[in-house]
Structures are given as C-alpha cells and as structure tokens.
C-alpha cells in the first residue's frame, strides 16, 4: 500500500527525531566534562555573530568607519568571530580525541568539518568587506592563490560587490544550514559513549 508522502515524512521524522530526543531533560551519566560545553559555546558565538552582522547589514559597510555605535557593533562582530573560532577548534579537537564519529556518527563529524571550512570562507570574505586598508591588502595578496587554480576566474576577491553578497547572504546561509543539520544529527543519535564503554559496564547494567 502506498502511503502519502506527507505521512511518510511525518512518520520518519517522529521515529528519528521525536521531541524527547530533540529536547531531552536527561543525558547519559558520562556526559560530564567541560569539553561538551564547547559545541554550545560555538553555537552561542555564532548566534552573536549573526545578530551583530544583521545590524551591520542594515547600516551598510561604511557605517562603522564614521559612527561610534557602528564601531562598537563592528567590534562585537569581530570579537565574536575570534571567539567562535577558538571554541570551534577546541570543540573539533575534543571530538577528535573522543573519536566521536563512532557508532554511526560519521556524518556528524563530516558536517562539522564542512562547517569549519565554510566558516573559514565566511570569515575570509568578511575580512575582504571591511573596506579598509586590510581588505585592500588581503584582496591583492589573496587573488593570486585563487587565480592560480582557476577559481579566481569566478570568485573575484577584488570585487567588493561580489564579496559582500557572498559574505552576508550565501555563505552564512550555507553555514547556518550545515550547523542546524549538524546539531540535529547529534540530537538524533545521542551523545557518543566513552571509548571503553560496553554492555559489561555496571553503569550500563544498572
């Protein structure tokens, strides 16, 4: 019997990611380390990046050069990016040493790693749209790398309009979507058990 697509989707969703999995109020007892906080910290920094970025977008790229409020908002954007990377790199190393791709969690690792690469691209275009000396310098220097492998034929780092659009629209969208998928995957599969956990451990039996 063929079921409605809508019903199929709903059932699959309910099976894989019921609200109890999406927003549980308990976790396995082994989830007890500071390292678990870094995913959430990365997420928090990203939220602040997006919020400050939206304010900057409404005022335009030149705003922070002459307005002190603009300068402050720009500073929050700048520092949240710095923190974002610090948190993300610690998170990455943590997940590496936990071998957190075990138990069918490979896609979680991979989406995380893609998020890392996408973040670098997003930050890079951000440096290019500062419209200051640094962006002049970076665009002149960076063009050679992209040109040398043919990418520069379309990804033109010296084109402010193109970089601005990529930085405020396309790249954040990609990064946002990857991040959401990443976090939902973690919720769906649950937090990976310790490397030496198995069914014989008392904690498991109890």
């Amino acid at each position: 019997m063929s079921e409605m697509w809508t019903a199929q989707l709903r059932k699959k969703w309910q099976k894989n990611l019921p609200i109890e999995k999406l927003l549980p109020d308990d976790q396995p007892a082994y989830v007890a380390s500071w390292i678990y906080v870094f995913g959430v910290l990365t997420l928090s920094a990203l939220a602040i990046i997006i919020a400050s970025g939206i304010v900057l977008a409404f005022e335009g790229p030149a705003w922070y050069h002459y307005s002190s409020v603009g300068k402050f908002v720009n500073s929050t954007h700048f520092w949240s990016v710095q923190l974002f990377f610090v948190f993300m790199v610690i998170h990455l190393w943590g997940k590496f040493w936990m071998a957190a791709w075990r138990g069918n969690r490979m896609a979680t690792w991979m989406t995380g790693a893609v998020a890392f690469v996408a973040s670098i691209a997003t930050a890079f275009t951000g440096y290019l749209v500062q419209t200051n000396f640094d962006s002049q310098w970076i665009s002149f220097e960076a063009k050679d790398g992209f040109n040398s492998v043919g990418v520069g034929a379309w990804f033109t780092v010296t084109n402010l309009g193109q970089m601005l659009l990529l930085h405020v629209a396309f790249l954040p969208l990609i990064l946002g979507v990857i991040t959401v998928v990443h976090v939902l995957m973690v919720r769906k599969r649950g937090v990976v058990p310790p490397i030496d956990a198995d069914a014989t451990n008392t904690e498991v039996r109890s």
Binding site: T76, G103, A123
Partner: protein, 325 residues
C-alpha cells in the same frame, strides 16, 4: 566485544545510567557568557580599521614610483600587464604539473592596462592642451609605435632606478606627458573614482583599483610596515594590535618553508600559490574524512586523552587498561 559489536553498541540508544541535563539553561548561560566576553573585548580593544590607501596618497608621497608604474602600464611590463588569466593573455599562469587550471579558466575579468589604467581615466578629465595632445598622439599611433615609445621610456627609468628627474632625454613620444598627466590626476584625488567608474553609473567592482595599486611599491611597503607580508606569516595578522585570521596558520605555514619560499625553484617554488592551494584542498578533504583514514582514525584510541575527558566514567567503572586499540 568485537569491533563490530562495539560499533553497534555505540550506535544504539543509551540504556545505562542517566542524569538530569538542562539544555535550555546551558544554552542561555552560554549566550550570556559569550556576550559578556565579546562586550568586554569590544569596549577594551575595539576593532581594526586602518584607513584605506588612496591613489592620491601614493602619488603625493612617492610620485616617482607612481609615475614609473604608469609607464609600466603603458609599456605592458607591470605585474598586471604580464599577469595572464583571468585578466589577460600576457602570461601563462601557474600550473600543477600538466594542470594549467589558471589558463584553462580563461580571461573572465579582462583588463587592458593601457586603456583601463591610463588612457580611459585621463579621458574622463578636462585635460590641459599638452595632455589632450599626448592622448590624441598616442591614440593615433600604431600599436608598435606605442610599444616602442613606452618601452624605451620604461627602460630609461629602470636605468636610473626610478628617479624620474634623472632620466635621459630620448624618443619617448607622448609617454612622459601621459604619465605626468595621470600623476597629476592622482595627486588631485581624481583617479580612484575614475578607475572604478568605467562602464557606468553603478559600480561595485574594485578590481582595477586594487590591481593598479599592487603594481607599484606603495601598497607593498604599507603591507611590510604593517607586518602583513605572506612570507612572514602575514596572512594570520591584522593591522594594529588585533588578532587576524589565525585559523589560516596551516595555509600560511607552507609559505614559510622551502621549496615554496624559493620563487625560482621549479616546478614547485615557482608555482607555490597553486601547489599550496592544492595541498590545502587535499588537507581539508582529509579533515572531513578523518573517520575513515587508517592510522588517524585509531589515534584517539591509542592516545588515552579520552580517559581525562570521561574520567568519572572510567573511575566509576574501574577501567584500568583500555581494551580498544
């Protein structure tokens, strides 16, 4: 437990001990803490914002260099004029072995340094008779004649190491007048906009300005002064006392070691940009694929950092020696 059984165990929902965990509270606290740290740094440090350089600044502070660069643009000897794809066909571009990706991608952002950088900007101005005459003489001359004038002047300038007042007289045609005209225009502050506005009212592409800028020494000197040169980890730096893109350290790293540091070593040094891009592409793919790379995917099992991370668990279970390697 065999490897396969362990994999199934790890994938299965956890049936062992659990504890209360408040995600929403954790998230809210995290956002507040991060916001506080960000606010602290923003008030304390602000953010970098060194004013952009201008052609006016260049022509005023080092007019000989600007002038000589203009002559190079006319003679076709500047960095941009000899670049190749994606700007023109005057260079082969870099290659990785048989892969000439740069050339294959084609000329997608055409730049003709003579017209785009010199003649067209001059023509947007109300010119003095000298310069108006120089422009029409240049335009009326055959390309070979233009080349001869500009090249001999370019050579003469090189001979006296860029000191324009010391250049010997010669058959340079309208080239000195054109170079002087553009220098004056730049000094007046009119060149930045003239380079940008070619082609119409709305403009969002700064390629011509940036490339012309890079052909001289002004931008390069400023980069050196700000400690931003690629050969000295500049990619990771910002202007002033701010952190830059520190996450580019691995990309930057390759530029610090041979053969990438030696522009003359073939094939790699001479094509460093392309090779480093390729290396970083492969390494990024490697990061994504770590869970399936033999030797690396088992590293966390062999180096017991996980005992620290899950120390409570290991203690409560009395696990002394790891069974998984």
């Amino acid at each position: 437990m065999s490897k396969a059984e362990k994999e199934i165990f790890d994938a299965a929902p956890w049936h062992g001990k659990t504890k209360q965990y408040d995600f929403i509270k954790e998230g809210v606290i995290a956002v507040v803490v991060v916001a506080l740290i960000v606010t602290f740094f923003s008030f304390l440090m602000g953010s970098p914002d060194d004013k952009p350089l201008t052609f006016k600044g260049w022509a005023v502070s080092n007019s000989d260099n600007f002038y000589a660069t203009t002559v190079q643009e006319l003679a076709g000897t500047s960095g941009t004029a000899t670049y190749g794809a994606p700007y023109n066909k005057n260079g082969q571009g870099l290659n990785i072995g048989p892969l000439w990706l740069q050339r294959w991608a084609g000329v997608t952002r055409p730049i003709d340094t003579v017209n785009d950088f010199v003649i067209a900007p001059l023509s947007t101005q109300v010119m003095s008779t000298d310069i108006a005459n120089a422009v029409s003489t240049w335009n009326a001359a055959p390309v070979s004649q233009q080349k001869t004038w500009a090249t001999s002047y370019d050579d003469a300038i090189t001979k006296v190491e860029g000191k324009i007042s010391a250049v010997a007289t010669g058959a340079y045609g309208p080239v000195p007048a054109l170079a002087q005209g553009l220098t004056d225009m730049a000094k007046a502050g009119a060149l930045d906009a003239a380079l940008l506005s070619q082609g119409g009212f709305f403009q969002t592409d700064n390629t011509k300005q940036i490339l012309f800028f890079g052909d001289g020494s002004y931008l390069d000197d400023a980069g050196t002064a700000a400690n931003l040169q690629g050969g000295t980890w500049g990619m990771m730096n910002e202007t002033g006392r701010y952190p830059g893109q520190a996450w580019l350290w691995l990309y930057s790293f390759w530029y610090q070691i041979p053969p990438f540091t030696n522009e003359n070593s073939k094939p790699i040094g001479a094509n460093a940009d392309a090779y480093i891009m390729a290396i970083m592409g492969v390494m990024s793919l490697g990061l994504i694929l770590i869970p399936i790379i033999p030797g690396i995917k088992t590293l966390p099992m062999r180096i017991p950092i996980h005992r620290g991370i899950w120390s409570e668990y290991y203690k409560s279970q009395g696990i002394k020696r790891s069974k998984r390697r």
